[in-house]
């Protein structure tokens, strides 16, 4: 199978998954108890004219498939409807809060990659020692520390007690924003660091035991370059795959961390809109998170053969 065909198949698979996902998210509205129109305006007291507008906007006078098609068409053109809470288009509401969340996720990703891979590799190279066992214990506990618990402790110690970091808000200007995002990023990262550490350690140990490593050493290659060029290089595949699966969890966890630190971002937006019954925004955010997950993991699948040539582009990791 040629690379082009494999690529096409992967992208087709991604498109089908996204289509099914969009359908699920769209039709979830009809799971809500009662009439969808009254669900959409719940908590507000709309005038009859507004009710007619809602009815028209959602096309409730049309059959279900037509309504879905209508909605999908709009979504593909970037139109997610209007937010009742902010009296703006949903796209604009999300767009305004996206940079703050991207900064948070970006800083966390760097933390997770550096600490997770670093600690995992460090631990694997000291397999069986006391250091290794301490790392393992930290990983077991770390994987069980929810971001809200980490947030409480970090805020209490480094925000309130020591006063090193601000305890609330986003900040203005890059430096101030980074200062504000530091604690939330750590809170967000703890669990994922632990998971990445564990995978890195297991994967590195697996590779360290392989004969090709001994062969490389037997031919006089320096230990450092053998570790880099053979052990770490080969261990990357599983690390990448697992990291891809963590993306959606991380995005959802921004809801917790942003709420805990009183930051404005898409995570806190999600919670606010659930709280204040702005379903249009909730729907768009759910779709966004799932779509990012699907796209990222398709990318991982596409990149994987470059890391491990044994996996043909069509075969995939699954």
């Amino acid at each position: 199978m040629s690379v082009a065909v494999a690529l096409f198949r992967k992208l087709l698979g991604m498109a089908v998954t996204l289509l099914v996902t969009s359908f699920l998210v769209f039709s979830s509205l009809y799971l809500a108890p009662g009439d969808p129109v009254s669900f959409l305006v719940k908590g507000r007291s709309p005038s009859p004219a507004e009710l007619v507008a809602v009815r028209k906007e959602f096309g409730f006078d049309q059959p279900f498939p037509a309504r879905y098609w209508h909605w999908l068409d709009a979504v593909l053109h970037g139109d997610f409807g209007r937010s009742y809470l902010f009296h703006e288009s949903v796209g604009a509401v999300i767009w305004a809060r996206l940079p703050a969340s991207l900064l948070l996720v970006g800083v966390s990703t760097v933390l997770i990659a550096v600490v997770g891979i670093g600690a995992g590799a460090f631990s694997a190279l000291r397999h069986g020692t006391r250091t290794d066992k301490s790392v393992l214990l930290l990983v077991t506990v770390g994987a069980a520390v929810p971001s809200f618990a980490a947030a409480v402790v970090l805020r209490s110690v480094f925000g309130v007690r020591l006063g090193w970091f601000p305890t609330i808000g986003n900040g203005t200007g890059l430096l101030d924003e980074l200062h504000h995002v530091a604690l939330p990023a750590v809170a967000l990262s703890v669990t994922f660091m632990a998971l990445v550490t564990r995978v890195t350690r297991a994967s590195m140990l697996d590779e360290l035991g392989r004969e090709h490593v001994e062969v490389a050493l037997s031919r006089g290659a320096p230990r450092g370059s053998v570790l880099r060029r053979h052990v770490f290089r080969n261990a990357l595949g599983p690390i990448l795959t697992v990291s891809g699966l963590l993306v959606s969890g991380m995005l959802v966890s921004t809801a917790i961390v942003e709420t805990a630190f009183g930051m404005s971002g898409i995570g806190s937006l999600l919670v606010q809109c659930v709280d204040e019954l702005d379903f249009q925004v909730v729907q768009a955010l759910v779709l966004l998170v799932v779509a990012v997950f699907v796209v990222v993991n398709t990318l991982v699948d596409l990149v994987h053969p470059l890391i491990d040539p044994r996996i043909a582009a069509g075969g995939g990791a699954r």
Binding site: H212, V215, A216, S218, R219, G220, P222, R233, N234, R310
Partner: protein, 331 residues
């Protein structure tokens, strides 16, 4: 100066009941082909690895391993690198496991040249092409760009051999180089190794569990059992008249190419694992000639035979045993 001289090498692993190697002594002259025969777990591979300083980090090592006079026991990284890059190299058993599957064949061949000798990519690749041609691969420029999974086992073992020759070694350690291959390619690889050995005047240590193979391709053969050398002899003599009961057992349990199979006499019992130890001769529990109170009491040393000083055996009763035990004339 002897090419390889192993002197009373003892290797102990924490947690094991007996040493992995127990006072192993072995000599290999330049240009000589020496066989090292024994069952799996007898310590053949560890012995060969010691000649590259590749012993487990946790192991306790005593004795000497001299490669062209350099002692590798407790050697620093620089000396190890000197030996590994220019004097000795190893052909491993399974090329599928021994060659990094995610890197190209070219990387495998050029890596040591570029990393340890500081060659440029162009120089190293030119050398790699020569090596691939020398081991008889049909299309060196293409193989250079291929990944290991695109080659057959036999072809990959040729790549492994090419890799071992990259540093122009004088000592080639072959650790069961044909065991992982199809029967049909085994002979080709052995012929290739033999040809290279003669053409380049290599000293070669051939590790195998196949005593007939060792007899056919080696000048001298060492037989190992449970971490000890139990017999050493010129290949032809060992094959014609084995002296140690274990060697007799090995020869008796090899299926003959011709003649009835009833002649097969398997060695009773199982080889001794690392979790077991015995105060006396390690083979005593399986030996039909063992003398209670003597053989299971203390371990016999490897001593030259009085009748044939170029041979040696580690057995108390070697002089008393009927000789030779394998009477059937075999080619």
């Amino acid at each position: 100066m002897t090419l390889l001289e192993i002197d009373a090498l003892t290797v102990e692993l924490p947690g094991a009941a007996r040493p992995v190697l127990d006072a192993v002594t072995l000599r290999l002259a330049a240009g000589e082909v020496v066989g090292l025969v024994g069952e799996s777990g007898s310590g053949k591979s560890v012995t060969a690895r010691s000649a590259l300083g590749l012993l487990p980090a946790r192991a306790r090592v005593t004795g000497r391993v001299l490669v062209e006079g350099r002692d590798l026991v407790g050697a620093d990284a620089a000396r190890l690198r000197e030996v590994r890059t220019g004097v000795a190299s190893m052909v491993f058993q399974d090329p599928r496991a021994g060659i990094n599957p995610v890197r190209r064949i070219g990387d495998f061949l050029t890596e040591p040249l570029r990393l340890t000798k500081g060659w440029s990519r162009r120089e190293a690749e030119a050398r790699a092409l020569e090596l691939l041609a020398a081991v008889g691969l049909p299309d060196p420029p293409r193989h250079l760009r291929q990944y290991p999974h695109q080659l057959s086992g036999g072809m990959l073992q040729r790549v492994m051999i090419a890799g071992a020759l990259a540093g122009e070694p004088r000592l080639l350690l072959c650790d069961e180089p044909t065991t992982a291959l199809d029967v049909s390619t085994q002979a080709e690889i052995l012929a290739l190794l033999g040809g290279l050995q003669r053409a380049r005047g290599l000293g070669m240590l051939l590790i195998t569990h196949d005593i007939e193979l060792a007899a056919a391709s080696c000048d001298r053969v060492y037989v190992m059992y449970a971490g000890r050398i139990v017999e050493q002899a010129p290949a032809a003599e060992l094959f014609g008249s084995p002296r140690h009961p274990y060697t007799r057992g090995l020869l008796g349990s090899t299926p003959p190419l011709t003649g009835p199979l009833e002649r097969l006499r398997p060695v009773p019992g199982a080889p001794m694992s690392l979790a077991e130890s015995a105060p006396g001769c390690a083979f005593a529990a399986r030996c039909t000639f063992a003398e209670p109170g003597r053989c299971d009491h203390s371990a016999p040393e490897l001593l030259p035979l009085t009748a044939a000083p170029d041979r040696s055996a580690a057995c108390f009763r070697v002089a008393e045993l009927p000789n030779p035990a394998v009477t059937e004339a075999r080619p």
